[in-house]
């Protein structure tokens, strides 16, 4: 009999009943074919070893839900992403803090941003500022935002402030995308997924993209110089939020969220950082303790203030060599870490996990 072909020898390894008996009988007596068969078996074992895949993940339901969400507009898809950038909802838990909180962050970032005249500025590190609900209400009142859910809840719009006009717009519609790769394409951000997730986190459920957003405060001409008549433009994003884990009952809070965003930048048409800082912090009604904290931050032109909600503790540490702030609830049930990497990307990892798990994920990214 002719020697057995390599293809048949290969199939003989795994499906012996699918090849003619004569092939098996030949193999028993042919040294050459046995040698070939040994080499084939060795190569097959190597391929099997290096291409081995783990058992199927549990999660077809989640995968199906994800597919559906990509094919149908998500109910909350139009909600601006800037509402949840710096800290996780469960950790913040500040009443009526939606638009107000964002306005406060924008103002703080705006102050930080106006380092020099008309020069776009990028903060290079993060620092904490303790904020409670009273602080936010006070800031809201000073700004003239009120306590309602208004603020930046639409893709673009404007609102009268006590000392000027706030206008905001987004370069596109925020919403869910099909994959991390698609988010990278849309935002030009480099997204790094953690190789290992903490136990119990679950699989990735949502990838949400917020296009770049811009907010401009135009100060009234009636305000005294040097601030009056100037504008402060803050550009934030684009940003991507990747959520992991199932939805908790009654809430829409994922177990883990990873935010990646371009650092906010700002430009002023006429006022310096210190002039804006002095004007805004000098407004009657701004809590004295908040003013003191912001003063202690030092050069606001190079610092991104991170609001710390009541009851949370903050720790300063480093992620990937960059200064970072770790926030944790007293119970340890939720944590968040925020840092800005050296390439100018702001990262936040937050979730219903203890700080060691959050830091584990952050170190994989940083």
């Amino acid at each position: 009999m002719r020697h057995v072909s390599d293809g048949v020898l290969r199939r003989l390894q795994e499906e012996p009943y699918s090849v003619p008996d004569t092939a098996g009988r030949h193999l028993e007596t042919c040294g050459r074919c046995r040698a070939s068969s040994a080499q084939i078996a060795e190569d097959a074992a190597l391929a099997s070893r290096v291409l081995a895949t783990p058992p199927d993940p549990d999660g077809i339901d989640a995968a199906w839900a994800r597919l559906q969400s990509q094919l149908e507009p998500a109910p909350g898809a139009r909600r601006p992403f800037v509402r949840v950038p710096h800290f996780p909802r469960p950790l913040v838990n500040i009443p009526a803090a939606t638009g107000v909180g964002i306005a406060a962050v924008l103002v703080a970032a705006g102050v930080a941003g106006a380092a020099t005249l008309t020069t776009v500025f990028s903060p290079t590190k993060v620092a904490t500022v303790q904020l409670n609900a009273g602080d936010l209400r006070a800031v809201s009142n000073v700004l003239g935002l009120g306590t309602g859910p208004g603020g930046l809840s639409n893709g673009s719009g404007s609102q009268q402030l006590r000392f000027g006009t706030l206008r905001w717009s987004s370069s596109g519609q925020p919403g869910r995308v099909a994959s991390v790769a698609q988010a990278e394409t849309q935002t030009q951000l480099t997204l790094t997924s953690p190789a290992r997730l903490p136990a119990g986190v679950g699989t990735r459920t949502t990838v949400f993209v917020q296009p770049q957003a811009r907010a401009t405060i135009s100060f009234r001409n009636s305000i005294a110089a040097p601030v009056g008549g100037t504008s402060l433009a803050v550009t934030a994003g684009p940003a991507v939020m990747v959520a992991y884990g199932g939805q908790l009952t009654g809430t829409s809070v994922p177990t883990l969220g990873i935010l990646t965003m371009r650092r906010p930048v700002a430009a002023s048409t006429g006022a310096t950082t210190s002039q804006l800082e002095n004007y805004l912090l000098g407004q009657p009604g701004i809590p004295a303790d908040l003013v003191r904290q912001l003063r202690l931050v030092g050069n606001l032109g190079s610092v991104l203030p991170i609001p710390v909600p009541p009851g949370a503790t903050s720790t300063h540490l480093r992620i990937g060599g960059s200064p970072a702030v770790l926030l944790s609830t007293a119970s340890g049930a939720a944590s968040a870490v925020i840092w800005e990497s050296q390439d100018g990307t702001v990262h936040a990892v937050a979730g219903l996990l203890d700080s060691s798990d959050i830091l584990n994920v952050a170190h994989q990214i940083g």
Binding site: S5, D6, G7, V8, L9, R10, R11, E14, E15, S18, I40, E42, D43, A44, L46, A47, S48, V50, L51, A52, T53, P54, D56, P57, I60, A63, W64, R66, L67, Q68, Q70, L71, E72, A178, S179, V180, A181, Q182, T190, T192, S193, A195, R196, L197, T203, R204
Partner: protein
């Protein structure tokens, strides 16, 4: 069969054919994500690939049970989309190689070795002819010879030959990588 997966926003939403497509999805999703994981070595990327594959499949086969080759198509598409993903990974160059979600390594040294090995395997798959890489991942993701044949539209008797050549080529690529 050459399957190029493209995510289309215009894909038909699950409505009229939703129930049939959901049944198809639930039946074939495990195989698709397994194939993608075999290529990419990363669970999250594999799930992304699987999503893309099924979105593309929905546009192509609104009623997949009526389409003779839908099951085979999603498998080959998963292999090709996975290969596209790791080729994109190479183009991105410095981007971190994702791996290891399934098997947490014991320590930093093991992690480094594990990651290095996985990177070598993906590099080897990138260098192989697409047809060879495809037959490798399809077979080693658990498809039978008959299923591989159906997926690749070849005679079942030819699968052993294709597989043998592909495994031999993979070994040579891995040996070359080790020598380097």
């Amino acid at each position: 069969m050459e399957a190029k997966v493209m995510t289309s926003a215009a894909a038909q939403p699950p409505g009229t054919t939703g129930a049939a497509f959901e049944r198809f999805f639930r039946e074939h999703y495990p195989a698709v994500v397994r194939i993608a994981r075999g290529v990419t070595g990363d669970e999250a990327t594999a799930q992304d690939v699987a999503q893309d594959v099924f979105i593309a499949a929905l546009g192509r086969f609104p009623d997949p049970w009526a389409a003779q080759h839908a099951a085979a198509w999603v498998r080959v598409a998963a292999a090709h989309a996975g290969l596209n993903a790791i080729r994109g990974e190479r183009r991105r160059g410095h981007r971190q190689v994702l791996s290891g979600i399934d098997v947490p390594p014991a320590g930093p040294e093991e992690a480094a070795l594990d990651s290095e090995r996985r990177a070598e395997v993906r590099q080897a798959l990138r260098r192989l002819p697409r047809r060879s890489a495809t037959v490798l991942v399809l077979r080693h993701s658990g498809l039978s010879y008959a299923e591989v044949a159906a997926a690749m539209n070849v005679n079942v008797g030819h699968v052993g030959t294709m597989l043998r050549r592909a495994e031999s080529a993979l070994r040579k690529e891995l040996n070359d990588a080790t020598r380097i």
